[in-house]
Assembly symmetry: C3
Homo-oligomer: 498 residues x 3
């Protein structure tokens, strides 16, 4: 069967992920070419700041590419590969596979499972383009690939900061808890990387009052803010102080993972009562939910004061299987999306701040049913709202295509932020941005060949999506429009515009 | 970059919005051609009857094309253009931009925001094809376009009734409150336009008992019906009388905007009690919702008696931002779709009247998730049900394509009504019907080239969708099947068929 | 209009349902060709076991192809054809059309209604390819087609068992109530068909305690199990015994039709109390719903013991119109899908058994909104979960395409079961599998021409989807892994893996 043999050697096709029909493809190529040399602006990701600050060589292929990638681990688990065989650590310290070559072989032997998935697309890019693997992955080629990768990772040019240059990354945002010391960012800034590597304020741990460990996290928050948190008022002050510390460290944005998008505010006395009860360890789930919603409202209020862009990621039911959670901890593939309501949920926040010149609210979703029904209509009228890139289970070739096909009608392009990669897999950052640019090029090409857009407009829009929009969406407000003085909490809920 | 320059002069491409692949496009062209000379049947729209009756020249370009178009206004607002700058009036009488040329320039300078949106498609058609603008809109070309349009609007051939001929509009339905005098329609009828311009009975204002101004609207309803409404029974009688007045004025249909599709009937005594309480101004939200649902059921019952087609438009959460509502009033872009349930909601109505030969219930949605799951299955079995065209945020090239791709499987073509334009932008009516015909031609062409439909069938279906189906869907019942005598309310809830 | 005339004679195009663009189609053809000679594995259908066991000639064309096909009947009803005219029997014994030729003529005269629907695609395949009809169906050709079909059905080669060979059906599963005698299967096994025709355990009638006739069905269940059911414990024992009887008769799977996917277990005492109340005829809807959910959990537990694959079909609101139900009974086209939640609903079951090596849970849906949001994420991590083929209103060309486009990203191919036809229309089985193979070939071809998959991988995957996956998804567990000894109900709720 000669025509079914894999291409040898393994290469990336220049037209990958572009529409195939002979009218659209050449236009898509031309549009893609307009973005080819643009830098990467990576304003939302989960690369560890310490990794960049230490700037040490990466470890072995398995611990770099397999063990921490929950997209990859979940697929192997779904087909019966135990977490142990993949070297995913256990909280109880019982043994798991520790030989990276064994883990790698297990992954390679199951390469066929990833057919049609974005993991396949990204990993192929990483292996071929970044790491120089030359044969398609399989049980037979596993060892050769392992050796190639390991050798490459040992080269000086493959240390993290060198890769920032190699990848053309102009700016990269990390994600950091509210109680982060920001020491890594300070160290990087001292070496001149402060403009290029910025933190993101992620306060989830201290906003969900029924989280295990919440009280300790609040205590740590106080410590970082140089105070002791004994009351709700202290808590707000500490959050405000920490947000400004992040601003000073270069942060552009906050990030919020909530099950619901609810933003209903509470009266200050009610909020203070829930907070006090939570400190006593005496809070029920309903009160905790209400407090989380209230704090989203407060985060928006604080954004109007300090100008941090507010990113909201609702709709992931975390840790679906409690047994897995108990044995493996979080982030091993068991977060599952649920239907998410935005229109009523965001009404309090948008009524209060949806026209405020200092607020930019970037909405993400795992529920694509909301693209045309809720998200595009909201972004298409409220000046504060922008739509983030398709997230997580939707950051796929067809998911990103459906995003453009459903939101552009009502939100246009300018109400979207362009691509964010949202990844902790550092080596896959170019692959992810490359894929997004290809999908956008294909979508724009379709508009052109259907005579719904002129080619010059498509070229300009492609550059916007790849570069201009993420830069402006995450830009700091103009000088003088935000002020450090802290007004009383809840005192400024008036809408600016309308 | 010569190949990125905009086409000069500005023209509409004959193949716009048709599939681009070289196999499908010629078939789509052939199918489109079969509909090219068909008249427009516009059975659901919001053109003001007074505009047609007065038949005066249109005003300036801005007040015609910009200020009243909430699709357009909402996009500009979303990117920070204040309503004031667009001349959208304030209820408090404070000043807004009154220079139409200034408003037009603001719009023209933001033309790029509409890339990829249906507003772009429709407006391009209006500007180029209807109004003769020859250069692509931009800040630089704004004044020239303004002058071209203004000159064109002053021509006698551009008065409203002349445009009905120019546009090939065979029938146009306006939307009129239950208390409308119908004087404009009477005046038009006196001049021979009675068959061509028909009213639509829209009783929302008197069905939602917690609406501000409800009691006054009910009083006015009584006045129009020549009675005083003191009881629920009077109210039903007045509604029935007004519906017959609309029938006499040529109406084909009623139209109902409800947040929910609920049609649960109440006992007559309960309904009377809610009505009485509402007259006293003493009704809560739950009772008001229940009464709205009940009245949908009653509207269906009345339709079985007077033969008016019943159009239901649920799922728009009106006036999302109360500040904007207070300052600008309704219909300025802040209505946002919400998830909508039809299957359980419509069960009471369909159980009672779903097989009644005099009922035609046309369902619309803003929630495309219901296309394949709920709407097509209901329309594909109940004789009374037809699916209206994709509505509002979904009346877009890709929205209309998704509609056909998801409902045809289960509902076929004959259970849809063909296109309705639903617009208050009179000059855009040809653009909207043209776009719908193009999308349907493209969808049918795909069926043909995939050998799922023969070409002769596709040609016949295209004519049905463009012309035959809207005519039959909104036709009056055969003579003798509806009768003017009014039975006691609620007395005729038996299903006819099954 | 020569180019609009239907093709004469009526033939099936070899490229039907393949993508039309000239780059993709040849690749799709090549992929389809790889599946052309594969046997049909039909692991979920509703062909009557008695029909196969009796192996008598089929009846007339109408009673074979029209009357029992609820897809077809519902479309005709929706356009005003009465059930009576189609010969759909009435429960009250009042007369309906009994002349099969008259029924057939009514169907043929409405052939145009099926344009764009899967009924059209399947029926065309049956009429042309299986039955040798040579002119497109219409009022004019109805009689000739009737005669052709009637003659064909009288041939010995058209008896049911002969058709199994003609159709290349390797295995076919019927659907049988929990109280089935399985006599037809025994008779078939005695004649050597036992491996090829297998039953499926469908206990709905005895799991929904508020169903009319439930108590009698439970009594019959006891009788079949050789016991008297007086308690909840007896009931569980009888269910377990019957499941083993099905295993002994070759069954591979159970099948469960529930309105909700809820799997929340009850305490044994609570379950016993509901059961006892139900036996007394004293159970409310909420208790019945809770018990149905509990029994899904119990069915999963039993599957871990006897190895039957568990198929779950939630989300159909049965018998939407009670008048039709009263007059015509079930399954005449009035089941309507409703929005369905899986993530929270399945959590109890998956937490308990989601990693159990003996459980395979095959999920189906009528709510395609759950494809990317809920079903693919669940199947993409839990080893026990597989996604069934697009079901019922979604088993259409575009529905199946959307299924692949939305679930492959997260679930890949290996977490799907391949196609099941789910049909009671025996003659349409080849048409349905053929269509599924074509859609999968088209989807895989797109991945190839977009350079997202190599051709050899696509060819291998096509064979998996058509043949390998249904075989392995419905395979019995390895010998020795399931055991007949019955532990105490509810005693084994521990998760095996994680």
């Amino acid at each position: 069967m000669p025509d079914t043999a894999p291409a040898a050697p393994w290469v990336l096709h220049p037209d990958r992920a572009l529409p195939a029909d002979p009218v659209t493809r050449p236009v898509a190529r031309q549009i893609l070419e307009a973005t080819r040399t643009l830098p990467i602006v990576s304003m939302h990701g989960h690369v560890d700041a310490g990794l960049l600050s230490r700037d040490e060589p990466f470890g072995d292929p398995a611990s770099l590419l397999v063990v921490p990638d929950h997209y990859l681990v979940r697929m192997l688990v779904s087909q019966g590969v135990p977490h142990d065989a993949l070297g995913v650590p256990r909280l109880d310290g019982r043994p798991v596979e520790t030989d990276p070559r064994a883990v790698w072989r297990t992954f390679a032997a199951h390469w066929h499972l990833f057919r049609g998935t974005p993991t396949r697309f990204w990993m192929e890019h990483v292996l071929v383009d970044v790491l120089g693997v030359t044969e398609r992955l399989s049980a037979a080629t596993a060892d050769a690939a392992y050796d190639t990768i390991a050798a490459r990772l040992a080269e000086p040019g493959f240390r993290p900061l060198a890769l920032l240059d190699r990848f053309g990354i102009e700016t990269i945002a990390t994600t950091d808890p509210a109680s982060a010391t920001l020491a890594d960012h300070a160290a990087l800034a001292a070496r001149g990387w402060g403009e290029r590597i910025v933190p993101t304020f992620r306060p989830d741990a201290v906003l969900h009052v029924d989280r295990p460990g919440w009280a300790q996290d609040v205590a740590l928050l106080g410590e970082r803010a140089g105070t002791t948190i004994g009351s709700y008022r202290d808590y707000l002050r500490a959050l405000e102080a920490r947000r400004w510390a992040f601003v000073d460290a270069g942060a552009r944005a906050t990030d919020h993972g909530h099950l619901l998008a609810d933003t209903t505010p509470m009266d200050e006395t009610d909020a203070a009562a829930v907070f006090a009860a939570a400190l006593r360890g005496d809070v029920d789930a309903a009160a905790a939910r209400a407090f989380s919603a209230h704090m989203l409202f407060e985060m928006a209020r604080m954004s109007t004061q300090d100008g941090l862009v507010m990113q909201l990621h609702p709709g992931a039911l975390r840790d679906h299987d409690p047994h897995v959670l108990a044995v493996r901890g979080n982030d091993v593939g068991y977060d599952i999306p649920v239907a998410t309501e935005y229109v009523r949920a965001l009404r309090p926040l948008l009524t209060a701040f949806g026209h405020h010149p200092n607020l930019r609210l970037v909405l993400f979703t795992l529920d694509e049913d909301t693209f045309s029904r809720e998200l595009a209509p909201l972004a298409g009228v409220y000046p504060a709202v922008r739509l983030g890139a398709p997230w997580w289970f939707l950051d796929t070739p067809d998911g990103m295509r459906r995003f453009r096909e459903t939101v552009t009608d009502t939100a246009g392009f300018a109400n979207t932020t362009g691509f964010v990669d949202d990844t902790r897999a550092f080596l896959s950052i170019p692959a992810r941005h490359d894929l997004a640019r290809r999908i956008d090029a294909g979508y724009l090409a379709r508009l052109v060949v259907e005579h719904r857009l002129d080619l010059d407009e498509a070229l300009e829009t492609a550059v916007d999506l790849a570069y201009g929009l993420p830069r402006t969406a995450y830009a700091r407000p103009p000088a003088g429009t935000v002020e450090r003085a802290t007004p009383a909490p809840g005192s400024d809920r008036q809408v600016a515009g309308a």
